[in-house]
């Protein structure tokens, strides 16, 4: 039996008990009886359709700081254009001048050019694009990875189902148990923090045997779910430490040429790590990349960060395709907002949530397709307005999640995947 499926109900029960033990029989976190059952029910109940459930994994590339859509995914001419002239691609649309490698992969992805958001504040915008909800002082909302774990159960018998690379695990499990929280990999070259023991395996085994012996009395006396849950976390961690599963985090096992193809920066290596994790069966991986808050000198910014994104994303799509993983892996590229049409006095662009772009590939998504449009200047949405909620519902749909199903939080408030957004069906082949 999947160990994770044993753990989660336990820790969840601890979570619910604290508040529910005195309340009178109110059911919380609907569907939490057991992830496996929930997965069955979700599969049965959801209406299927084009693309539904095609994705088994999601690689969520989050550009931090507000990626300029005009210089990347939605190039313009005239005064809006900026320092780099648009370039042709393999498909019948253009990309920003820095996206040379991505242009060659244009037959593999779709772009939404009609995204719009209500906030121009970084943290608030990132929160919305990850969770679909506005940030509140009274509740935390889950990301898609946590929603997926709720509906589909764990994706791996030992490793977590939800990983985030190059960032801290905030905006993760939301109101779900902390076992749904993304496992943070702060530096892809280093891998999982504290995974290595400071002493030789033989010494560690002695320690673990002694631990088992000396703690036995306490464990016998207190057979509560909290104590059992900790014991299981220890068992699981010890098995991870000694298992080959941790190899998923070892980038050194990748050929040097491939590492260079992705780009040796943290983002390139993060994308490569994401692919390794997908191969290992980890469902949801977010890779973050900063540097996009280009208020000054956007020309230099693009040379550095635009090029890094271009190289890594193109390599990722090509690599996934070659390995036959692209059909079952949804890759999305997004940012908290775009940047304005006007080049400011410092040669940069300022925050622009009114219209921006996202990219989707794999997981049943069409190749070479543009959805919606911004107006001529890149100022506002011209066609097929799409919200962060629609975007997240699309991801949920691709993963086969029941996006309409209402889940009650422990505080008894109703929530859905992507806050009642509508999946963009035109994106699916």
């Amino acid at each position: 039996m999947n160990l994770h499926n044993q753990l989660d109900p336990l820790s969840r029960r601890a979570f619910c008990e604290r508040w529910a033990s005195a309340a009178l029989g109110v059911t919380v976190l609907h569907g939490l009886g057991g992830s496996a059952f929930a997965a069955e029910a979700a599969k049965a109940a959801a209406t299927s359709g084009p693309g539904f459930g095609k994705a088994k994994n999601v690689i969520f590339l989050q550009m931090i700081g507000g990626m300029t859509h005009i210089d990347t995914l939605d190039p313009k001419e005239g005064p809006t254009q900026g320092p780099k002239a648009p370039i042709k691609t393999k498909a019948d649309f253009q990309l920003g001048g820095t996206m040379e490698n991505l242009a060659k992969q244009a037959d593999k992805f779709s772009i939404i050019r009609s995204m719009t958001s209500k906030t121009g504040v970084h943290a608030a915008g990132q929160y919305v694009i990850r969770t679909g909800y506005e940030e509140r002082g009274t509740i935390k909302h889950p990301n898609i990875g946590a929603w997926a774990q709720h509906f589909l159960g764990s994706s791996h018998k030992t490793l977590p189902s939800n990983v985030c690379v190059n960032r801290q695990p905030q905006n993760g499990n939301g109101f779900f148990p902390s076992s749904f929280s993304p496992l943070p990999i702060l530096d892809p070259d280093v891998g999982l923090q504290y995974a290595k023991s400071e002493v030789a395996p033989e010494q560690m085994n002695k320690r673990i045997a002694m631990l088992d012996q000396l703690d036995a009395g306490f464990r016998d006396r207190f057979k509560t779910s909290e104590v059992k849950s900790y014991t299981q976390f220890y068992d699981k961690t010890i098995s991870i430490m000694s298992s080959t599963d941790l190899e998923a985090f070892h980038l050194d096992d990748e050929p040097e040429a491939l590492k260079e193809k992705y780009g040796k920066g943290k983002f390139g290596q993060g994308c490569l790590l994401a692919r390794r994790l997908v191969e290992k069966g980890i469902r949801y991986i977010e890779v973050a990349k900063g540097g996009w808050d280009m208020h000054n000198n956007i020309d230099d910014g693009l040379d550095e960060h635009g090029a890094e994104l271009d190289q890594a994303l193109a390599a990722l799509l090509e690599d996934l395709k070659e390995r036959g993983l692209l059909e079952s892996t949804l890759v999305v590229l997004c940012s908290e907002f775009g940047r304005g049409p006007k080049i400011n006095g410092n040669g940069g662009r300022d925050h622009h949530p009114k219209v921006f772009s996202t990219l989707l590939a794999g997981g049943g998504i069409k190749g070479g397709y543009i959805h919606g449009a911004s107006d001529k200047e890149g100022m506002a949405v011209a066609d097929k307005q799409t919200s962060p909620q629609d975007f997240l519902s699309t991801i949920g749909w691709s993963l086969g999640l029941p996006v309409d199903e209402v889940v009650m939080s422990p505080s008894n408030r109703p929530f859905t995947v992507g806050d009642k957004g509508k999946a963009v069906m035109e994106l699916f082949a």
Binding site: A14, S21, T138, R207
Partner: protein, 692 residues
């Protein structure tokens, strides 16, 4: 002491008719022939302690008793948990026990056995002082033969530095205290709260201060509560109502509450009490001073300097001010027929259906002066007659000690009768009022109850059935308790010495006089000075500036721990309350569940794989097991391996090892395991991280 046969407490209404029935009563007679039916609690220093059925404990001089009873007092085995520090306290504790026992009896449950000294001392240190006792502190208690030792250790811990630190941690989670908010540092707010706790300011006064605070954050830390959510007064109010009076209104911020009685209209009527409160940029500062500032700003050539100066101004502009008109309007999407979107809202207090007396509402009349709206609200909310204010904090403090509230969740007291023991909940609220919101006194009562001093419940709590408190529940340590306990293992009780006091330093560094008196040159000088001192707060400010490290030796060459805490392997070994709030994500505290201070009451007690990896392989286990760690030094100084193991057990668990544990551990030591291995093992046990 004069013998009185009357109820000394006014507040015993609820427990009339209830009697503790698990004790042995006998009739005592004094030398004048007066009789008293009481249970024998013990004899100390020539005084006999007798507890009557309502819980009151008489202290009688032995020689005042009849000869037969003098003999009895010398031979009888004392009942209960030793002798309390004062008779009223004993009675207050006994009344709680009776209510708990009545609840248990009704459900045909039995209370847990009384906890051993070892269990008790570790628990009471963790619950009151926020850390485990050192080996010496544990031994001192265990070896103390006096009958009043439990009461005494409670009294001592309530006066300790750890008490202030631990209660601060609780409120910091509840109030979402973060170093950084609104792009400023909220150190003065933290220092203010610590000072209130240190001075044991009554809870109603403390909350009243937060609700009504005026002025700059830099000058008045109490403004931090409203400024934490500057510009978001609806969110702030929602939290105020749920945190302090358990009104579960968060839904009503956007629409009528689907399950409870609250309407969106009511929510806005409450919010209107803050409709004339300005938290978004200090308006009063828009005068001559601010204009002078702008000129000075423009004259700063360097862009970076200009930016720093702007930040400085923003920090100085963070203030709470009252305007003369309430401008709160209904939201644009207001959809109910009783009013239109955008209508101005008249302030109106909410009422609960079970609140028959409405005493709290008397004397609160809607003023014509909008600038006094906040005071009206605060007066009503913190009134002893408010039907929820005392109950909410009483229930929270109960949870703080027992691990679970009488009513859960603690932020929803809309229906007190849905609690596990409504009579107990009402009694605790009355006690809070009787004790005039003195939290220390309230906690003293709770800790002196038999209920608190029983063994922790060892069986699984049944789903959805009320917990009736046969004893405290088994709890995992909070992140702060675990961290402070680790630091205690390494440096001992000295860990309590260091205090950050960052508020004062920060305010001094950042304050600029915007009164308009100062000339542009003077202002410019102020800005430059402030920018120079801003640097120490620039990055993620640690508990102590690193450059102070050299100065932390005093003349004797010893570390002066009041100035700077010890640092081992990059870990600053100060109490969690003196470290950054919250700590950075990869710190032990956060990995162990410290709240990120974004959501109220969101400290987590759950495990995770990264957390267990950290416990097994991270810095904490290393620093605890190193030779310069106190726990290792103390154990190494013992002569035999048996004594060494015993020393470690006392340090980690406040108890001696059982024979089989002693045998296993000493066998390990002779089989190639080191002291460091053993500290690793004990640190990674469930027994270490759980509180019995």
């Amino acid at each position: 002491m004069k013998t009185r046969f009357c109820l000394p407490l006014a507040c015993a209404l609820l427990v009339t008719g209830l009697q503790a029935d698990n004790e042995v009563y006998r009739t005592w007679t004094d030398s004048q022939g007066r009789k008293l039916e009481a249970t024998f609690r013990g004899i100390e220093n020539g005084n006999v302690f007798l507890q009557i059925r309502n819980g009151y404990v008489y202290r009688l001089s032995l020689d005042k008793l009849s000869a037969a009873d003098q003999q009895a007092a010398k031979t009888l085995k004392p009942e209960g948990l030793g002798i309390p520090s004062d008779p009223n306290l004993a009675q207050a504790a006994a009344q709680i026990d009776m209510l708990v026992e009545a609840g248990l009896k009704k459900a045909e449950q039995k209370p847990n056995p009384l906890a051993s000294d070892e269990q008790f001392v570790r628990r009471v240190f963790l619950d009151l002082a926020g850390r485990i006792p050192t080996r010496e502190e544990a031994l001192e208690f265990i070896n103390d033969t006096s009958l009043s030792k439990r009461a005494k250790v409670i009294d001592r811990l309530l006066e300790s530095e750890g008490y202030r630190s631990h209660l601060f941690n609780y409120f910091a989670d509840m109030l979402r205290m973060a170093d950084v908010a609104q792009k400023a540092r909220f150190y003065t707010y933290q220092d203010w709260l610590k000072k209130q706790i240190g001075e044991n300011v009554p809870w109603n006064k403390l909350v009243y201060s937060m609700m009504t605070a005026d002025g700059k954050l830099l000058e008045n830390g109490a403004t931090g509560y409203l400024l934490r959510d500057a510009g978001m007064r609806l969110d702030n109010l929602s939290l105020t109502l749920s945190t302090f009076i358990g009104a579960n209104v968060s839904c009503a911020q956007c629409h009528d509450h689907p399950f409870a009685d609250w309407t969106q209209r009511q929510f806005f009527e409450m919010a209107a009490f803050f409709g004339a409160t300005e938290t978004y940029g200090a308006k009063g500062n828009a005068g001559a001073g601010m204009q002078g500032m702008r000129k000075v700003l423009a004259s700063l050539g360097d862009k970076k300097l200009q930016q720093q100066a702007k930040n400085l101004l923003r920090v100085n502009a963070l203030a709470v001010e009252d305007s003369s008109t309430n401008d709160l309007k209904l939201p644009d999407d207001y959809k109910y027929p009783d009013a239109k979107p955008g209508d101005l809202v008249t302030p109106k207090l909410i009422t609960w259906s079970d609140d028959k007396t409405k005493k709290a509402y008397q004397g609160v009349q809607t003023t014509k002066h909008d600038e006094q709206l906040r005071e009206q609200f605060a007066k009503w909310m913190t009134s002893p007659d408010n039907p929820r204010f005392a109950m909410t904090i009483a229930n929270r403090m109960w949870k703080h000690m027992f691990g679970i509230g009488v009513k859960e969740p603690v932020a929803d007291l809309d229906d007190p009768n849905a609690s596990s023991n409504p009579a107990l909940l009402h009694h605790l609220a009355n006690e809070m009022v009787r004790l005039k919101f003195d939290l220390k006194q309230f906690l003293r009562v709770l800790c002196n109850t038999d209920t608190y001093q029983r063994e922790a419940t060892s069986h699984e709590l049944a789903d959805n059935s009320a917990y009736l408190f046969p004893g405290p529940i088994l709890r995992r340590m909070t992140a702060e308790q675990a961290w402070d306990s680790c630091a205690t293992l390494v440096v001992g009780a000295d860990v309590d010495k260091f205090k950050g006091h960052r508020g004062e330093t920060y305010a001094k560094a950042m304050s600029i006089d915007l009164s308009g008196e100062a000339s542009p040159d003077v202002i410019k000088g102020q800005i430059e000075n402030a920018i120079a001192s801003m640097r120490q707060f620039g990055g993620k400010a640690a508990g102590t500036p690193k450059n102070k490290k050299k100065r932390m030796m005093n003349q004797g060459g010893e570390e002066d721990l009041t100035l700077a805490p010890p640092v081992r392997d990059g870990m600053v070994l100060a109490r969690a309350s003196e470290l950054p709030q919250p700590e950075k994500d990869q710190h032990f505290l956060r990995m162990f569940g410290q709240s990120d201070r974004q959501i109220a009451d969101s400290e987590s007690e759950e495990g995770s794989i990264p957390q267990v990896l950290m416990l097994m392989n991270g810095e904490a286990q290393r620093v605890i097991g190193q030779n310069d760690s106190l726990v290792v030094k103390t154990a190494s100084a013992q002569k035999t391996p048996e004594q060494q193991v015993e020393s470690l057990y006392l340090s980690f668990f406040s108890r001696k090892p059982k024979p089989d544990e002693l045998a296993s551990a000493t066998a390990g030591l002779s089989n190639g395991m080191t002291m460091r291995d053993l500290t690793w093992v004990l640190f990674n046990t469930r027994e270490f991280i759980f509180v019995e």
